[in-house]
């Protein structure tokens, strides 16, 4: 490999597991923005998304030896991201279960820099809808897994994802 040639994800992973902490910076630079977007999609709050992203990168470092390279590193990272965010949302919902506030009102944070109306888009998506989308497109869960976790039947899971994607497609195309 020449110095100009960008290292592959797996090269960086190997370097990190051999003790090269600087290689971690390479992975971080490559994926931090993507992880942050995914955290925001689930928790809909920039501050929480940033905190979650930090926790996720610590987790990546601590669990990198669990990555067996059977799939792409990005797939492993995004599944870890999805699971971490969903666990956070679950524990947050549990700790706030005494409050009767509507989740979408509670979580929405309007970002003036967004070019599409995030408030408008996310009001259309319940937390459950975002969870299903995150599992499907970030965590790469199968429909079978989604239907089992969400306790809905397989065809309902497929239909729901399809309906949500149609809704999102309309939103990005407006």
């Amino acid at each position: 490999m020449t110095p100009d040639e960008p290292s592959s994800d797996n090269d960086l992973v190997d370097a990190i597991t051999q003790g090269d902490i600087q290689a971690f910076e390479g992975l971080y630079d490559r994926y931090a923005g993507k992880v942050l977007k995914r955290c925001f999609f689930i928790c809909v709050n920039q501050e929480e998304a940033r905190d979650l992203m930090q926790e996720i990168w610590i987790k990546v470092f601590l669990h990198l030896h669990d990555f067996k390279k059977q799939a792409a590193f990005s797939s492993w990272l995004y599944r870890l991201t999805t699971n971490h965010c969903l666990n956070y949302i679950k524990s947050k919902a549990y700790s706030e279960s005494s409050e009767t506030q509507h989740p979408s009102e509670e979580l929405i944070h309007e970002d003036p820099t967004s070019k599409i109306d995030v408030h408008h888009l996310l009001q259309k998506l319940s937390l459950e809808d975002r969870t299903i989308l995150a599992m499907k497109f970030m965590g790469e869960y199968t429909y079978e897994e989604i239907s089992a976790i969400c306790e809905i039947n397989l065809s309902a899971a497929k239909m729901r994802v399809s309906r949500l994607i149609t809704k999102l497609r309309e939103e990005v195309n407006t």
């Binding site: 940033r50 992203m53 470092f61 970002d111």
Partner: protein
């Protein structure tokens, strides 16, 4: 997996225009990782020393 659906999802993420993580966040992550790396090294170092050398009891 349906590539077209994946593409729509990626478009939504991009359209949210979430700014890239700032430098301070990166520094905090890198600092934590550095300390964890050091802790790992120390752990490995201690594990390589026979238990008696790490025993801090003051036996006469």
């Amino acid at each position: 997996m349906n590539d077209e659906e994946d593409l729509v999802f990626e478009q939504v993420l991009d359209a949210l225009h979430i700014p890239e993580p700032d430098q301070t966040t990166k520094e905090q992550v890198m600092k934590a990782v550095f300390f964890l790396g050091v802790a790992k090294e120390i752990g490995a170092f201690h594990a390589s020393i026979p238990g008696t050398l790490l025993d801090d009891s003051m036996s006469e």
